[in-house]
Amino acid sequence: MSKKVEEVKESLSEMLELPKDIVLDLPKITMIGNLQIYIENHKGIIEYNKQRIRINTNNGLLRIIGKNLSIRTIVTEEIIIAGEIESVEFDT
């Protein structure tokens, strides 16, 4: 049932050219080089240390691996992570 709803939503957003992150409630990730990563619409952090940060999103777990990672700002809607980012992966 919910899968069908998702599909309808996606096709609707495709048709009306609505931004997908709003319609589908997905995270919007913006990176500035490998220095900063900006995640909107997250669902809390799972793990946090200097080498690895795991963030829960609607799309599954987002894993950020790097060096000297630190959280610049964290509020209910967004996270800004700074450091030397090596990889960003989704665990679905």
């Binding site: 809390g44 959280i71 610049r72 209910t76």
Partner: protein
């Protein structure tokens, strides 16, 4: 980001250290409660450092209880804490207020008066006038009405044609423009003498009106009456006062002495330069570099640089850069004859520039003498010129 930082500074924040096992849970709970955390750094598995606002820190207590970790304050930062600290250091705050009051108090006086754009009029003349109005260094600047002062300057002093008064900081600036000198013509019905402008030997007296009191060959001093406007006659009961008219030619001398060294010193730069720097604060100088100048003969050049200035405001802090250029000194003996000619030409030219338009040159004397390796040239030019000038008679009857 800077704006946010300043905002945070004014709101006040604390750097906290959180120790516990499930720190991610702590962060998530804090976010869920709407507590704003920033600059979160993980030191190791059990410790975390973060910044949080004062209000947020109070709300964190519930989170801490739930998660079961320890929170300690590392540092308190921001304006509210500063104020709090100052409350316990009343004397410091008091001193600050006193200092501010002194600054405001001292800047509300006029400490100096500057007269600018005056050429012939002496500063003292204007300053003395201002003093007579009660304006002198040390008075409150709020008591000065610049518009009124300007008006008074213009009406009371007839030597100036324009005045502008401005208060800049603790300085009163009086900007004036001098009136072109107007020779007051004496009206034809006013009795007057004709007097000598300068020391001269009378050559010719043409008196159209009045009584000439000098003859050809007389030596007259400056201010001596040449044509008198007072005509006394035994027949008349009272002396007759007339407006004198006439032209008097007199021989006058213009002298000039020029000293010129026979040995000329020529300085040639060798190309070696030594620089030293100084900081100048007010009138005090602080040497920045030690050591003597490594040359015997040098030309010194000094440059000034203003540091610390904001727009119009300048602190009296300057950097002086002294540049010493090494030179080789050479003494060259000059040809005395050509030097004589040179100085004569130069001297005569200088005198000619000074002569009034209608003067006629009648004699030229040049004397040379040598003293201590210097050639002294004395030039004496005799001219015939008009020497009379009208002067009002300040006549009072002596009965």
């Amino acid at each position: 980001m800077l704006v946010i930082r300043i905002w945070n500074y004014f709101r006040g924040y604390v750097i906290i250290k959180i120790e516990g096992l499930t720190l991610e849970k702590f962060i998530n709970l804090a976010i869920a409660k709407g507590i704003y955390l920033w600059d979160i750094v993980r030191y190791d598995y059990t410790t975390l450092e973060a910044k949080v606002g004062i209000k947020g820190f109070k709300e964190l207590r519930d989170v801490v209880k739930k998660v079961g970790c320890r929170v300690s304050i590392v540092e308190k930062k921001g304006y509210p804490f500063l104020v709090h600290k100052l409350r316990y250091r009343k004397m410091l705050a008091f001193g600050f207020v006193i200092a501010l009051a002194i600054v405001i108090f001292l800047t509300s006086f006029i400490w100096s008066i500057d007269v600018i754009n005056n050429e012939k009029i002496e500063d003292e003349y204007i300053i003395d006038y201002l003093q007579s109005l009660g304006i002198k260094p040390g008075i409150l600047k709020y008591n000065i009405d610049t518009q009124e002062l300007k008006r008074m300057l213009l009406t009371d002093l007839d030597v100036i044609s324009y005045a502008h008064v401005e208060i800049k900081g603790t300085k009163l600036i009086v900007d004036i423009k001098e009136r072109e000198k107007i020779i007051k013509k004496i009206k034809e019905n006013v009795p007057c003498h004709i007097v000598a402008k300068k020391k001269a030997v009378i050559q010719k007296v043409i008196a159209k009106n009045g009584k000439s009191v000098v003859e050809k060959g007389d030596i007259v001093k400056k201010g001596q009456i040449l044509i008198s406007g007072i005509i006394e006659d035994p027949k008349l009961e009272n002396p007759l006062l007339v407006h004198s008219e006439g032209t008097i030619y007199g021989k006058t001398w213009y002298k000039l002495e020029i000293r010129e060294p026979i040995y000329k010193i020529i300085k040639n730069e060798t190309g070696r330069i030594y620089k030293s720097r100084e900081i100048k604060i007010g009138n005090k100088k602080i040497q920045m570099m030690e050591g003597d100048i490594p040359f015997n003969n040098y030309i010194k050049k000094t440059k000034e640089k203003n540091i610390l200035k904001w727009g119009d405001m300048k602190l009296p802090t300057k950097i002086l850069i002294h540049e010493y250029r090494e030179v080789e000194v050479e003494r060259v003996k000059q040809n005395v004859d050509s030097l004589k000619q040179q100085t004569t030409v130069k001297g005569v030219q200088q005198i000619m520039d000074k002569l009034p338009k209608n003067a006629r040159v009648v004699s030229k004397d040049v004397e040379f003498s040598i003293e201590d390796n210097t050639l002294i040239t004395k030039i004496n030019i005799g001219v015939i010129e008009e020497i009379g000038i009208k002067q009002k008679i300040n006549y009072s009857r002596e009965d």
